[in-house]
């Protein structure tokens, strides 16, 4: 199958999914709350008949459901997700402000997480049923069993408060100034500005929250790596490679890992969802001003428009990441190209 056909097929698969997400979001936003007006407007606006009427008009609440959905979709396509009750800004603007911080955190976390998870999985598989295997599996089990907020608190207590080897809450030390805004990612912006101190500081603030998230997602990644590599190791072509007299390291990396990592890529895509979810818990603990903390605050203050906006955004990112994984698959798995 050529690449273009594959790409088109994947896109055709994604479109109904994205539409479906908007349907589910619409149903939750308009059908589930007892009164959408109550849920979407701040209390003091409820007494203002004009504001209520304007809201009803804008979201078409006095029209039949299908039309309501189309209005909702139309507003959404213009990037209009309503106004946050708590911050009083359009949800779109809030998201634009807080998203870069989360992208930065999630990117560092996914790199740490893949490295940790894949390494643990390889150790487990190569030294199956030895003490290394057990230790690696227990670390992985801690990652999936300990609530991520507990990992964060223990990390803060030991590594920050007791030992002081990493920076604590926030994106930068209080005395530091934000780097000039280019991408919104502090480390990149600092680098572009050749400001090494800011870069180091921003990175050191990222280490602890990113490591916590990494431990959280590495559990699943290492489990899949282990079982996938174990399966590959038992294949005939592995025996052939050894029989040819290839060095063990070469056999494992070139013949084993290359084949074993294909299912791992899928799991990394799925883990990205966990990462975004974890960031809601982590960012609030680390007072890290990203989309997760925004979501946390919205949830604790019943800020319904903000909750719906971020939920949809996260679902869309999730679909997007898995779309990219599907595309990667084309290049990783020759069976798709041929079959």
């Amino acid at each position: 199958m050529n690449f273009l056909r594959y790409l088109i097929r994947r896109i055709l698969f994604v479109i109904p999914l994205v539409l479906g997400i908007t349907v589910v979001a619409f149903l939750i936003a308009n059908a589930v709350p007892a009164d959408p007006i109550n849920a979407n407007l701040p209390t003091n606006a409820l007494n203002n008949e004009e504001l209520v009427e304007a809201f009803r008009e804008k979201w078409g609440l006095n029209k039949p459901p299908i039309e309501q959905y189309l209005t909702y979709l139309g507003n959404l396509l213009q990037g209009d997700m309503g106004v946050s009750i708590k911050t009083r800004h359009p949800v779109r603007d809030d998201i634009a402000q807080f998203l870069p911080a989360t992208i930065e955190l999630a990117s560092v976390a996914i790199v740490f997480g893949i490295f940790l998870g894949v390494s643990l999985g390889i150790i487990s598989a190569i030294w199956k049923d030895t003490i290394f295997d057990y230790i690696a599996r227990i670390i992985a089990l801690i990652g999936v069993s300990f609530p991520v907020f507990l990992l964060a608190l223990v990390g803060l207590t030991v590594l920050y408060a007791q030992w002081g080897i990493v920076s604590g809450p926030g994106r930068l030390d209080v005395i530091m100034r934000d780097p000039p805004h280019v991408t919104g990612l502090f480390t990149i912006d600092a680098l572009l500005n050749r400001d090494w101190d800011t870069f180091k500081n921003a990175f050191s603030h990222l280490v602890l929250p990113a490591m916590t998230l990494a431990l959280y997602i590495s559990g699943i990644i290492s489990r899949i790596t282990r079982s996938s590599l174990l399966e590959v190791l038992s294949m005939d072509y592995m025996r052939t490679a050894r029989a040819k007299g290839l060095k063990e390291r070469y056999v494992i990396t070139q013949h084993g890992l290359r084949n074993a990592l294909i299912p791992v890529v899928t799991i990394i895509g799925l883990s990205y969802g966990n990462l975004l979810v974890g960031s809601i818990l982590i960012e609030s603990i680390f007072a890290y001003p990203g989309i997760g903390r925004y979501m946390f605050r919205a949830s604790t203050s019943q800020d319904f428009p903000a909750i719906m906006g971020v939920s949809m955004l996260i679902a869309l990112i999730y679909v997007g990441v898995n779309f990219v994984v599907d595309i990667l698959y084309y290049f990783l798995d020759p069976r798709i190209r041929v079959g």
Partner: protein, 296 residues
Amino acid sequence: MSSISSITSSTPESGWDRSASAVFYHLRRNPLVIVGLVIVIMWLFIAVIAPALSPYHPLQQNLADRLQTPNADYLMGTDELGRDMFSRVLWGAQITIPAGLAVIIMGSLIGTLVGAVAGYVGGIGDELLMRFTELFMAFPTIILALAVTAALGPDIKNAILALVIVWWPSYARVVRGLVLEIKSQEYVEAAHSIGAPSSYILFRTILPNCVAPAVILATLDIGNAIIVFASLSFIGLGPDPSSPEWGRMVSIGIDFFDQWWMWLFPGFAIASLVMAFNFIGDGLRDILDPRLRGES
């Protein structure tokens, strides 16, 4: 006797059909599974007799003794209102364990039913049901639950309901696959040929064969349900703030970061229970690996 029946009743290509005794044999030999079982039974026991075990009432405030470090009177210290942390942690088992179980039981029942019907009727009905199921899977678990709870209002029943809404789809997928497989078996054809009605075939001939896999999936899943419930409650979308729910207690404890006992003990309670369930789940997964590999 049991070995003969296990041979005759099992089809070699299906990993589910290992006889129960073989599964138990392997489980007993796995030390982590034993540890897991012991911890789970301990927590179940605590949940039942929490009122008798705990020295104080979990809601009883004693402002004179607020923020005490763990000591002989207060084994796990006290919180900002002088409530005994030890009693609160014990009572917490009564909230979190039933909540996790409720999510799993209801989610698996609904999912099994949807999946079974989809797989059995096939065609357009199957398509519609499965596309509907996929919509719910497009959201990362807790996000959808968060949105639903926010819409319904924070409350323990709503949190459980929201989790059931996000939990059933994975069961629907697995059971549908199984039903498709079982549908083509000869004994189903036999039931058809003697004129058994569709509902009888689905519920009496096919579904009983899906019970074991669904139960195994549920066992693997309980730890996850508990952790997600605790997270929802940590965010403030679970039971009301005063209740001794573990996740909630940790989130209150964050404001008292230096009083580590306020967040560490409830946090460990969640971790120990979830880890125990995962030990058991991991043991089960090892035994049944061929089918479960690649799913998380």
